[in-house]
């Protein structure tokens, strides 16, 4: 399929030109604005006025009005006609002679004595190097001469500028700047008539085939090449575009950007200069002349004149798009950049890119489509609107008119192919995602996010939750029914929460946890709800759902209170006492909560500590009362109890002690409590005599004296020793334990006291380690103190020496001596001597001391006076 780039419009009909003379034939044409000149074989020039109209069907039409015709009087055909519109002159070649005629009257104008005879062809330089506004440069080929003549044509004269010699007789020419492009008999060449340099292009047999030299732009020519090619050649002799393929019998060529037109016996072919492809073929028999004049392409047979009117570029591009020829359409669009005003071009380009994107989208070429959507800055909603029900009902979007694509919706596009639908949806997901992250939404964030949410929900996509958990603009009213439809209750809850409707969110989630609604998104939804409540600042909601949570699972439910952030704003803070009161019904939760208060948050309140101690005690007692309770199950709670009793100092000891004494168990704990009351004898009695747990007793001594001074600890150890050696206890003292205690903690005892305490009958050997340690210790202490004494003495001596030295010799003060600080002389004998024997006034020294930053130091040390 091809493009329709040009429309052939009849312009000068047969009757209008020749009337009743059948032998008249057209030889050449020239078109200049609205003026059309036709040269005929009977030496006439005809002048027509063209008027372009547009028919009611939108087709262009031309009407030609004959203004004048004039006979040149040479009886030969008019071979060539070229307008020099600035001079209002026509340059005419007839019978080898070049004459100049007035454009209006067609009268021959004198050329100032210069006659150009024997000319075979000529051309006008449209891009002359000399910028003479009153002259037109032409190049003339003389028949059978190896030269080209350059003339200047003025209003009333013609002047020869240059004669350029050529290696062979030229037969066709083009002129641009100072470059002459010539077809010689065996090749094409480019001559620079300024410098005289020449550049061979390529061989061509001009006798075999008619050469074509057509200037197509600045320093670029189009040439007929062997094999029916149209070759592009720049003035440097380089081809910058690939050749176009014409037929072998091509007779004429014209250029109308971005197309190259060529005429042969039966057709006019249209190639694009952008991609060198054949775009259009028009059937035209007996064509004779094909020429372009300032954007107008004129085609003529020997009897009639036609104009090839280029279709508007936009129309051509639309035709290409309609034929799904996306690449060509885009190339043509880009090629039009310099032919269309910039702002208009930008709009056109955007639209074409968007359309191209939709075509590729329809062909499921998503990568290309995306690129074109992006470049064309597509309103995302155009794409979303293809998918039924995705745009929110509240969206104000209406599709662009005229439509960018032919699809009613996705179903129309996919024709029922579910695989296609799924691929399109996947594409939209990725596209919307990208659009979101690149801020390309142009303020339609609500539409984009809502659409994305719907797609995610439908596709059971993991990112649904990410979308809802991050900043989003999903419309609640539109999304809620959709999420319900796909049983995404958890997600819906998140959306409610995001919109500040926590009550609705919780209600929904509780239903899911209770099994009233089904949504497998989160298996740990209960934990999630508890966590949510622990952060929830709406206290009514917290109280409302905490009962439900605690009934379901006390251990997890209590996290509502224990995980609540402490140092937040005041709103949402809970008074712990209220919680404790509230949790009375749920004892497990209460215990955990108190632990949280006492152990984690370290709240220093007697009430909580006592409460926790009592609860711990109750729990241990309850466990102990069960005969089946295994050792391990009891040991952990007991440890917790002991730790609390040891570490806390706030609980009410008597209360707890009373509780334990009434049970008759928990001796170790009771010992700790006695210790708290400083009843160490009782405690040690329990440990030593009742429990017979000597390591525990020693440990007790260490613990109970941990925060006291060493003498206190010694006292405790002596007490323990006394307890061990208590003779009143049935079964005698614990001699072994006492010996071990002495030997291991020798430092804790005063040896003299111990010796008094020990029974007479003990052998010395028994307590040898203790005694030798004690003796060694005292000896060590004595020596250490002697060393210290010696060091102190020597330091004292050293200081005395220094003092004597600094005191130095006498200080001289006289009336002639100046004070070092104020430089005035002394008037009185009183002075202050600074270190180094420098004498200064007393007031100067005081002044200096006052200003000195080390005043404090000198205050103490100003004994140098």
């Amino acid at each position: 399929m091809s493009v329709k780039a040009f429309e052939l419009v009849p312009t000068v009909e047969r009757e209008l030109l020749m009337g009743d003379k059948p032998r008249i034939a057209i030889e050449c044409v020239e078109c200049c604005g609205q003026h059309l000149y036709v040269g005929t074989n009977d030496c006439f020039i005809h002048h027509f006025l063209l008027e372009e109209r547009t028919s009611n069907k939108g087709h262009p039409t031309f009407s030609a009005q004959k203004l004048l015709q004039r006979y040149l009087g040479l009886k030969k055909p008019v071979a060539e006609l070229k307008a020099a519109s600035a001079l209002e002159r026509l340059v005419v070649l007839c019978d080898g002679v070049i004459v100049v005629v007035d454009m209006v009257t067609l009268e021959v104008v004198p050329t100032g004595g210069v006659k150009i005879k024997g000319a075979a062809a000529f051309c006008v330089n449209e891009n002359p190097v000399n910028d003479d506004p009153f002259g037109v440069e032409i190049g003339v080929i003389l028949a059978r001469k190896r030269a080209v003549h350059i003339y200047m044509v003025y209003e009333d004269r013609v002047a020869l500028v240059k004669e350029v010699a050529t290696p062979e007789p030229p037969c066709a020419l083009g002129l641009d700047g100072c470059f002459l492009c010539l077809a010689l008999s065996s090749q094409y060449v480019i001559l620079n008539y300024g410098t005289g340099s020449s550049q061979d292009l390529f061989p061509y047999n001009s006798e075999e085939r008619k050469p074509i030299v057509k200037r197509i732009g600045r320093e670029e020519f189009l040439l007929a090449a062997p094999g029916g090619l149209g070759m592009f050649a720049s003035a440097e002799g380089i081809s910058q575009r690939a050749p176009v393929k014409w037929s072998e019998s091509v007779i004429g060529a014209a250029v109308c950007f971005p197309y190259v037109l060529a005429l042969d016996e039966g057709f006019v072919t249209v190639h694009s200069m952008l991609d060198q492809q054949l775009k259009q073929t028009l059937s035209f028999r007996d064509g004779l002349i094909l020429q372009d004049f300032e954007g107008k392409v004129v085609l003529s047979s020997s009897k009639e004149v036609y104009v090839l009117v280029p279709l508007p570029l936009e129309r051509q591009i639309q035709d290409l798009l309609a034929g799904r020829r996306v690449e060509e359409a885009l190339t043509l669009t880009e090629g039009a950049r310099r032919n269309i005003p910039k702002d208009k071009f930008q709009i056109l380009r955007k639209r074409i890119l968007q359309q191209a994107g939709f075509i590729q989208f329809g062909q499921l070429q998503f990568l290309e489509a995306k690129e074109h959507f992006r470049k064309g800055q597509l309103d995302v909603r155009e794409l979303i609107s293809l998918y039924p029900l995705l745009l929110p009902a509240s969206s104000s979007f209406t599709r662009c008119h005229p439509p960018l694509h032919e699809f009613a919706d996705l179903n129309h596009l996919a024709q029922g192919d579910q695989e296609k639908v799924a691929r399109c949806k996947r594409f939209l997901i990725s596209y919307l995602n990208e659009v979101r992250s690149t801020e390309g939404t142009n303020g339609f964030l609500e539409d984009v996010d809502t659409a994305l949410l719907k797609l995610y929900a439908e596709a059971d996509h993991d990112s649904l939750l990410d979308l809802l958990a991050s900043d989003n603009a999903c419309l609640l009213a539109d999304s809620a029914p959709w999420l319900e439809k796909y049983h995404k209750y958890f997600a819906l809850g998140l959306l409610y929460h995001y919109n500040g409707q926590d009550a609705a969110a919780l209600q929904l989630w509780v239903k899911v946890v209770n099994g009233d609604l089904q949504d497998p998104t989160r298996s740990d939804l209960f934990e999630y709800v508890v966590d949510f409540l622990s952060f929830c600042s709406n206290m009514d909601l917290v109280w409302k759902y905490s009962d439900w949570a605690l009934q379901r699972d006390q251990r997890i439910g209590v996290q509502i209170f224990t995980k609540r952030p402490v140092d937040g704003e005041l709103r949402g803070q809970i008074n712990p006492e209220n919680v404790v009161t509230y949790l009375q019904k749920h004892c497990e939760a209460l215990l955990i909560y108190l632990e949280h208060l006492v152990l984690d948050r370290r709240i220093q309140k007697e009430k909580f500590h006592t409460h926790l101690a009592v609860l711990y005690t109750d729990r241990v007692l309850a466990l102990l009362s069960q005969p089946s309770a295994a050792e391990e199950t009891v040991s952990r709670p007991r440890c917790q109890l002991q730790r609390l009793l040891k570490e806390s100092s706030l609980y009410r000891v008597q209360l707890v002690l009373g509780k334990m004494e009434s049970s008759g168990q928990l001796l170790l704990e009771r010992a700790i409590l006695h210790g708290r009351l400083e009843e160490h004898e009782k405690a040690l009695n329990i440990l030593v005599h009742q429990l017979k747990d000597f390591p525990a007793a020693e440990e007790y001594c260490t613990w109970a004296s941990a925060s006291e001074d060493p003498t206190y600890r010694r006292r405790l150890f002596h007490l323990l020793l006394g307890t061990y050696l208590d003779p009143d206890v049935p079964g005698g003292g614990n001699t072994v334990a006492a010996v071990d205690l002495l030997n291991q903690h020798a430092a804790m005892f005063d040896p003299v006291k111990v010796l008094h305490l020990l029974p007479e009958g003990w052998s010395l050997q028994l307590i040898r380690p203790f005694l030798s340690g004690a003796v060694r210790g005292s000896a060590h202490a004595m020596r250490t103190s002697q060393v210290a004494l010696g060091l102190a003495c020597s330091e004292n001596l050293q200081l005395q020496h220094d003092r004597m030295r600094y005191r130095g010799g006498p200080v001289f003060v006289s009336e002639k001596k100046g004070c070092h600080l104020c430089h005035n002389t002394f008037s009185e004998p009183d002075c202050v001597c600074l270190p180094g024997g420098v004498a200064v006034h007393t007031h100067c020294a005081t002044q200096r001391l006052r200003n000195s930053p080390t005043k404090r130091w000198t205050d103490n040390g100003n004994s140098h006076t």
């Binding site: 061509y204 090449a225 062997p226 094999g227 090619l229 050649a233 440097e236 081809s239 050749p243 393929k245």
Partner: protein
């Protein structure tokens, strides 16, 4: 239209596979092509550079156009068919003179295409470049190896040694010093447009080698053209200074 920085031209007799080579490189596949009419060209974006690659017509009819295509070229790829001795000799007789119009610094590559017909190794598509280049260097240079033929494959009419010899003759024809020009071993390739064997390697190697002339050309261009954008920029910074 983007302006090419440098020109690479592919020359060679008809049916040696010039269009297929280019096609394999630019579109990464092999398809049947019809005889090229006149010539075609492809603009390759290679990093920050635009390289125009001209595919010429091998037919005698279009022979005259060749020197125009070659004018100012920075690299010429002379292509022959390894199964066709004539195609190699045509390079010397017919195509070498076309390159007279090329840039004085032009480099020449000699490429034997259709290697898949004669060499089993050319069937391995997508070999990594390092390996392939080793292969090339390891090939023995002495004429004793000219008997390499494969029983199942077509007879290889042109040996690598012949291509090397042609390269040396080209240097002599151009009056270039052998040690001042790229080594023959680097400039003679055997490729297969059908399997893609060595094709990327060929083009990438050449582009690397023409890089200096691109830079040279760019520098020359800078000197002769007034860069309007640049000058406005300096103005702007001046204004910033005064503020």
């Amino acid at each position: 239209m983007r302006k090419p920085d440098v020109k690479v031209v592919i020359l060679g007799d008809m049916n040696v596979g010039k269009t297929s080579l280019l096609h394999r490189y630019t579109e990464r596949r092999f398809k049947d092509t019809i005889s090229t009419v006149g010539g075609a060209f492809f603009l390759k974006q290679w990093g920050p550079y635009n390289i125009s690659i001209w595919d010429t017509a091998g037919r005698e009819q279009f022979h005259g156009l060749g020197s125009m295509y070659c004018r100012g070229a920075s690299a010429v790829i002379l292509t022959y068919d390894v199964t066709n001795w004539q195609s190699l000799s045509e390079l010397e007789q017919r195509f070498l003179s076309l390159t007279d119009t090329a840039h004085p610094d032009c480099i020449y590559a000699i490429v034997g295409n259709k290697a898949d017909l004669t060499d089993a190794c050319a069937h391995l598509v997508e070999m990594d470049d390092g390996h392939m280049s080793e292969d090339i260097q390891d090939t023995p240079h002495h004429p004793a190896s000219t008997t390499s033929t494969s029983s199942v494959l077509l007879h290889k009419q042109v040996d690598r040694m012949d291509a090397l010899a042609l390269y040396w003759r080209i240097l002599r024809y151009k009056g270039l010093e052998e040690n001042a020009s790229p080594a023959a071993e680097r400039m003679c390739f055997e490729t297969s447009a059908k399997t893609g064997y060595n094709v990327d390697f060929l083009f990438e190697t050449l582009f690397e080698m023409v890089l200096p002339s691109i830079l040279k050309k760019r520098n020359e261009g800078d000197a002769s053209t007034v860069d309007l954008e640049h000058s406005t920029e300096t103005k702007r910074t001046k204004a910033g200074c005064c503020r």
